[in-house]
C-alpha cells in the first residue's frame, strides 16, 4: 500500500532545495508545511538529475531527524573520549571557544590553530575568511585526495583547469579512475544517453565497475600504474603522428622537449608496468586521439596515487593539449572563474593574512603546489589573465598529515587546537593510527557535526550543524566554475542546529572581526554574491524561486582572443611554472608508491596490490553507516579478491580476512569476484560502526575495518608537488581471520 502524503493539501509550500550528501547537489523539491518537511522528491526541472535521486538522496528525511543526530551544543565534562557531555548554549560554547583560541594565539601564535574540513559539506569560504582574519594559514581538507592537485597542475599548464566538459558534441570520453555508475549518477545517465548516439567510452580502472560494464573499452591497469599508461599514450600520440599539429604549433610551447622526453615511454615499455598489452595501450590511445572532439573526465584515482600523482596528472593534462581537445566544442572547456558573481575566493579575505603567516603554512616547505608558494604564483597568473583567482580554501592548504604530525611531535612548531567541520579524519585521512593518536593528543578540539563520529567523540566541544534541507547551497565546482546552481533551505535548522557559516561568523564576532562579517545570515552573504548577476532580486530566496541558475553564454576558443593564463600566454607542455617551483617541467616516470620493481623484498612479504578509496553505493566517504534504510544494502565492509587468489589463500566467500600493509592491518569480508585481476585487492573505504560504543577505547571500531589504516602518508610516498598521499598501488597481504583474533582491530 502506498503511503503517499497528500501534497495537494492546504498550506504546503514547495521549496527548491538540494541534496547535500555528495557534491553533485541534485535538485530536490521539498514539500513544507508549518516548518516541517512532509516529503521530498527529485526536482524534474533541475538540469543534472532531472528528478532522479540516488539511495542517499532518498533518505533525506531519515537524515533530517535521525535519533542519532547531534542536536544541541555539547561540552565535554569527563575525560577525553569518555562520552560524558553537558548540554550548553551556543553563546556559552562560542564564548569559551573564542577565549581558548585567543589564549592559544597569545601563547603559541595563530598558526597553532588548525582547521580540518570534509567534502563540500560546509560553508568553506567562511572558514577560510575566519582563519585569514584570525591569522592562521593552517586550514586543510581532504582536498589533496580529490581534484585539487589536478586543478593546480592543469592550471599551471593551461591557465585554468578544464573540468567543465562539453559532452553533448563529444565523440570519445575517457573515464580515468572514475566510476560515475557508483558515484555520480546524473553524469552516468547523460553518458548512457550519448553512448546511444555514438559516443565512445574508455574506462581506465583496475575494477570491472558499474561503468566499465557499459564501456566500449575497459583498460584494467595495475593499480597505481596510471603514470606509465599516460606517458605511453603521449608517446603513441606523438610518435604515430596523432597529435593536432596546427594546434600544437600555434598554441603550445615545449613540444620538441616533450617529444624527446617521451621517446623512451613506448607501449612496450609500459606494458609490464601496467599489466596491459602494447596493443591495448595503442588501441586506446588511437581511440582518444582520433575520435575528436573528445574528453578526459577527471577522476579521483590519480589524485590518490601518492608519489607518482603529480607526474600522472601532468602527463594526462598533456594529452588534451596534444590533441587540441581544449576549449573547442565537444572538448574540455577552460571556462575560467565566474566573471558575473562574487567568487568564493573574493569572499575569503586572503589579502588579510600577513605574508609572514602565509610562510608558516605547514607542509609549504615540502609540497609547494597546493600551498602558498604554488597557489600564490598561480593565483597571481590567474588574476592577470582572468581578473580572478581560484578558491584558496581547497587550492591552498596545509598538508594534513604534516599537521597531524605537528600535533604529535611539535615539529615544525606546536599545533594546539583543531577545529573540525563535517569531517571524521580518523576514517578519511591517511594512516589512521597516526591520525587517531594526533586527535587523542591535541590540546583543544571543536567538532561541528551531524553525528557523534569517532572524531567528535574525542572533542572538547561538539556543535550541531544544519544539514541538507536546513541550509541554502550554491553549487559552483568549489567556487571555480563560471556558472551557479542555487538552492534554498527548505526549513530553518531544527533543534539548536546552525549553519557552520554562523559558527565561523559568531566566533569571528567574538574575536574582533565584527566589521568583516556584515552578513547576518548565509542568505545575506549569498545575496551579496549574486547581486552582480543583475537579476534585480531583493533576496537570495527570491533569486532561487525565480531563476535558480545562472549559466553565462559559452565562448569557445577563448585562447584565440586572450591566449592562455600562463607566463608565456601559451599552453606550456614544458611547464615554466612547475620548473620555477622546483619541479620537473616535463612528467618524469616514477613507480607506484610501493611496487615489486623498486622493492622486491617488500613484494615478497606483501605480494598483492592494494587499491583503496573508490566510492560505492550507498555510502559516501565515511558517512551514513547509522542509517538503516541504507545500511541494509551493505551492512558489513567487503574486500574484493579474485577467486583464483582466494583459492590459493584458502579464502571462501564471506570469510573475514585480514588485509595487511606495512602500516597495519584491518579486516573486511571477502567478496570473491572476477572483476579484479588475480593479484589485485580492493577494499571499501570509510568504515566505522556507529552501533558500537562511541567511547574510548572502542570509538565505534574506527580502526577495525578502516582502509586508511593501510594507506601511507610518509613523505617519500607523497607526491613531491602536491603532497597527496598514497591510497592506490600499495603492497599488501591477505589472510583469514582466526576465531581467536576475530574481535581484534589493530
Amino acid at each position: 500500500m502506498s503511503k503517499s502524503v497528500d501534497l495537494s493539501q492546504e498550506g504546503i509550500e514547495v521549496k527548491k532545495s538540494c541534496c547535500y550528501f555528495c557534491h553533485q547537489n541534485c535538485g530536490v523539491l521539498a514539500y513544507v508545511k508549518d516548518g516541517n518537511v512532509l516529503a521530498i522528491e527529485g526536482d524534474p526541472s533541475y538540469p543534472t538529475n532531472e528528478g532522479g535521486l540516488c539511495c542517499r538522496g532518498n533518505i533525506a528525511l531519515k537524515h533530517l531527524d535521525h535519533p542519532a543526530r547531534v542536536n544541541y551544543p555539547l561540552k565535554r565534562v569527563g575525560k577525553r573520549g569518555e562520552g560524558q557531555w553537558e548540554q550548553i548554549s551556543w553563546d556559552q560554547a562560542l564564548d569559551e571557544i573564542a577565549a581558548k583560541l585567543a589564549a592559544i594565539r597569545d601563547e603559541f601564535g595563530a598558526e597553532a590553530v588548525a582547521t580540518a574540513g570534509g567534502t563540500s559539506r560546509t560553508d568553506d569560504w567562511a572558514r577560510r575568511r575566519f582563519m585569514n582574519l584570525f591569522g592562521s594559514p593552517n586550514c586543510f581538507h581532504n582536498s589533496h585526495l580529490c581534484w585539487i592537485p589536478t586543478f593546480m597542475v592543469e592550471t599551471a599548464i593551461y591557465g585554468w583547469c578544464p573540468f567543465d566538459l562539453d559532452l553533448g558534441a563529444s565523440r570519445c570520453l575517457v573515464l580515468w579512475g572514475q566510476n560515475p555508475g557508483a558515484s555520480s549518477m546524473p553524469e552516468m545517465h547523460h553518458i548512457r544517453g550519448l553512448q546511444a548516439k555514438g559516443l565512445k567510452v574508455i574506462v581506465i580502472d583496475p575494477r570491472f565497475t558499474e561503468t566499465a560494464a557499459k564501456a566500449d573499452m575497459w583498460l584494467p591497469l595495475r593499480p597505481g600504474s596510471d603514470l606509465a599508461l599516460a606517458l605511453a599514450w603521449v608517446n603513441v600520440i606523438i610518435n604515430e603522428g596523432l597529435y593536432d599539429a596546427e594546434f600544437v604549433t600555434e598554441y603550445c610551447e615545449g613540444f620538441g622537449e616533450l617529444a624527446d622526453h617521451v621517446e623512451q615511454f613506448t607501449p612496450e615499455w609500459a606494458a609490464p608496468l601496467t599489466w596491459l598489452t602494447p596493443e591495448q595501450i595503442r588501441e586506446s590511445a588511437y581511440m582518444y586521439a582520433t575520435s575528436k572532439p573528445g574528453n578526459i573526465q577527471w577522476g579521483v584515482a590519480i589524485d590518490q596515487l601518492g608519489k607518482s600523482a603529480g607526474a600522472a596528472m601532468h602527463a594526462r593534462a598533456l594529452l588534451r593539449a596534444l590533441t587540441g581537445n581544449l576549449d573547442c566544442p565537444g572538448s574540455d572547456l577552460l571556462t575560467g572563474p565566474s566573471q558575473d558573481s562574487i567568487t568564493d575566493e573574493e569572499m575569503e579575505a586572503n589579502d588579510r593574512l600577513p605574508e609572514e603567516q602565509k610562510a608558516k603554512q605547514i607542509g609549504a616547505d615540502k609540497f609547494k603546489l597546493v600551498t602558498w608558494p604554488g597557489y600564490g604564483k598561480i593565483a597571481e597568473l590567474a588574476k592577470k589573465h582572468w581578473g580572478k583567482a581560484p578558491t584558496a580554501e581547497w587550492m591552498c592548504e596545509a598538508h594534513p598529515p604534516s599537521v597531524f604530525n605537528a600535533i604529535l611531535t611539535g615539529e615544525p612548531y606546536p599545533v594546539k587546537a583543531l577545529l573540525v567541520s563535517a569531517t571524521n579524519p580518523v576514517n578519511s585521512y591517511g594512516q589512521s593510527k597516526m591520525t587517531l593518536e594526533a586527535l587523542r593528543k591535541i590540546d583543544f578540539m571543536v567538532t561541528c557535526e551531524y553525528w557523534m563520529t569517532p572524531t567528535a567523540a574525542l572533542s572538547d566541544y561538539v556543535l550541531p550543524i544544519a544539514g541538507a534541507l536546513e541550509r541554502p547551497t550554491i553549487t559552483n565546482s568549489y567556487g571555480c566554475a563560471d556558472f551557479l546552481l542555487c538552492s534554498q533551505r527548505a526549513i530553518q535548522p531544527m533543534y539548536e542546529r546552525r549553519n557552520d557559516y554562523n559558527f565561523w561568523r559568531d566566533l569571528g564576532m567574538r574575536m574582533g572581526q565584527e566589521e568583516m562579517w556584515p552578513w547576518e545570515t548565509v542568505e545575506d552573504a549569498y545575496h551579496y554574491r549574486i547581486e552582480p548577476l543583475g537579476y534585480g532580486t531583493e533576496s537570495y530566496d527570491e533569486f532561487v524561486e525565480l531563476y535558480r541558475f545562472h549559466f553565462p553564454e559559452r565562448e569557445f576558443y577563448k585562447y584565440k582572443r586572450i591566449g592562455f593564463g600562463t607566463p608565456s600566454g601559451k599552453i606550456e607542455l614544458y611547464s615554466s611554472t612547475l620548473k620555477d617551483l622546483g619541479y620537473p617541467p616535463l612528467p618524469e616516470y616514477v613507480g607506484p608508491a610501493e611496487n615489486e620493481a623498486d622493492d622486491p623484498e617488500l613484494a615478497k612479504e606483501f605480494p598483492l596490490v592494494l587499491t583503496t578509496g573508490n566510492g560505492f553505493m550507498p555510502f559516501h566517504h565515511s558517512e551514513h553507516f547509522q542509517i538503516k534504510e541504507l545500511r541494509f544494502l551493505r551492512h558489513e565492509p567487503r574486500v574484493e579478491i579474485n577467486p583464483a587468489t582466494a583459492a590459493e589463500l584458502g579464502i571462501a566467500e564471506d570469510d573475514w580476512v585480514w588485509i595487511e600493509t606495512r602500516r597495519g592491518r584491518i579486516k573486511q569480508k571477502a567478496s570473491l569476484t572476477q572483476g579484479v585481476a588475480p593479484r589485485v585487492i580492493v577494499t571499501e573505504r570509510g568504515w566505522w560502526f556507529p552501533e558500537r560504543s562511541m567511547t574510548e577505547p572502542e570509538l565505534g571500531g574506527c580502526l577495525e575495518s578502516n582502509t586508511n589504516v593501510l594507506t601511507s602518508v610518509a613523505d617519500e610516498h607523497c607526491d613531491p608537488m602536491s603532497g597527496t598521499w598514497a591510497n592506490r598501488g600499495l603492497l599488501c597481504k591477505v589472510y583469514k581471520v582466526n576465531g581467536a583474533d576475530a574481535k581484534e582491530g589493530k
Binding site: 502506498s2 503511503k3 532522479g52 535521486l53 549518477m185 546524473p186 545517465h189 570491472f208 553505493m617 572476477q674
Partner: protein, 181 residues
C-alpha cells in the same frame, strides 16, 4: 481505459538500488520487506573478459494474475487499468497468494499481518504522478506508462525494441517488460 505497464531497460540500469531505497522509504516498509529488489548478475566470465547485468524485479502486474485467483478473501484484486493490488483490510495473511506468485513479488508485513507488494504507487498514478521508483531512477532505466496510449514511451519501447517478459511460458502475461543489451 489505460493499461499500465513498466519497462526495464537493463542497458541503462547500473544496480544502484535507488529504486529499492526510494520505494521502501516512501512506502514506509519495514526493513525486511522489499517490493523491488535489484539483482546483479556478474561480473560473469573470467577476468578480464566479463559482463555484468542488473535485473530490477517487481510485481509484474499480470494480465492473468495467479495471486488474485488464489486469494480466498478477494483481498488481492486487479483493477481495470491492470494494477494488481492488495486491499489490506480484507487480507488475512494466509499466504496463498505468496505461494501462487511465480515471481516472488509478495511479502507478508509482520507489522500489519497483511501481505503486501508493489501496486505501481497507484495513489500517485491516480494523481497523474510517476511511481516513486520511476521518478527516482537517475538512469531512466524504468519507464512507466499506459500501453494503450500509442504516444507513450512504454508503447514505443514495447513495440519498438525487443522486449522479454519473465516466465512468459506460464501464461501470466506480465506487464513488466525487459530490454536486454
Amino acid at each position: 481505459m489505460a493499461r499500465y505497464a513498466m519497462v526495464f531497460d537493463t542497458r541503462r540500469c547500473i544496480g544502484c538500488h535507488s529504486c529499492t531505497v526510494a520505494c521502501r522509504t516512501k512506502n514506509e516498509l519495514p526493513l525486511d520487506m522489499i517490493y523491488n529488489p535489484v539483482t546483479t548478475v556478474g561480473p560473469a566470465g573470467v577476468y578480464p573478459n566479463l559482463s555484468m547485468v542488473h535485473m530490477p524485479l517487481i510485481c509484474m502486474h499480470c494480465e492473468n494474475p495467479p495471486c488474485v485467483d488464489a486469494c480466498p478473501t478477494c483481498a488481492s484484486q486487479r483493477r481495470d487499468d491492470g494494477i494488481v493490488f492488495v486491499e489490506d483490510k480484507k487480507c488475512v495473511g494466509c499466504l496463498a497468494c505468496v505461494m501462487a506468485c511465480p515471481y516472488g513479488a509478495r511479502v507478508k508485513n509482520h507489522e500489519t499481518g497483511a501481505v503486501q507488494k508493489c501496486d505501481f504507487c497507484k495513489d500517485r498514478v491516480d494523481e497523474g504522478k510517476l511511481p516513486h521508483c520511476v521518478l527516482t531512477c537517475h538512469q531512466k532505466a524504468r519507464v512507466f506508462g499506459d500501453l494503450d496510449d500509442e504516444t507513450s514511451e512504454v508503447y514505443k519501447l514495447v513495440n519498438g525494441e525487443r522486449t522479454v517478459r519473465l516466465l512468459a511460458e506460464l501464461g501470466t502475461e506480465p506487464y513488466a517488460f525487459y530490454i536486454y543489451g
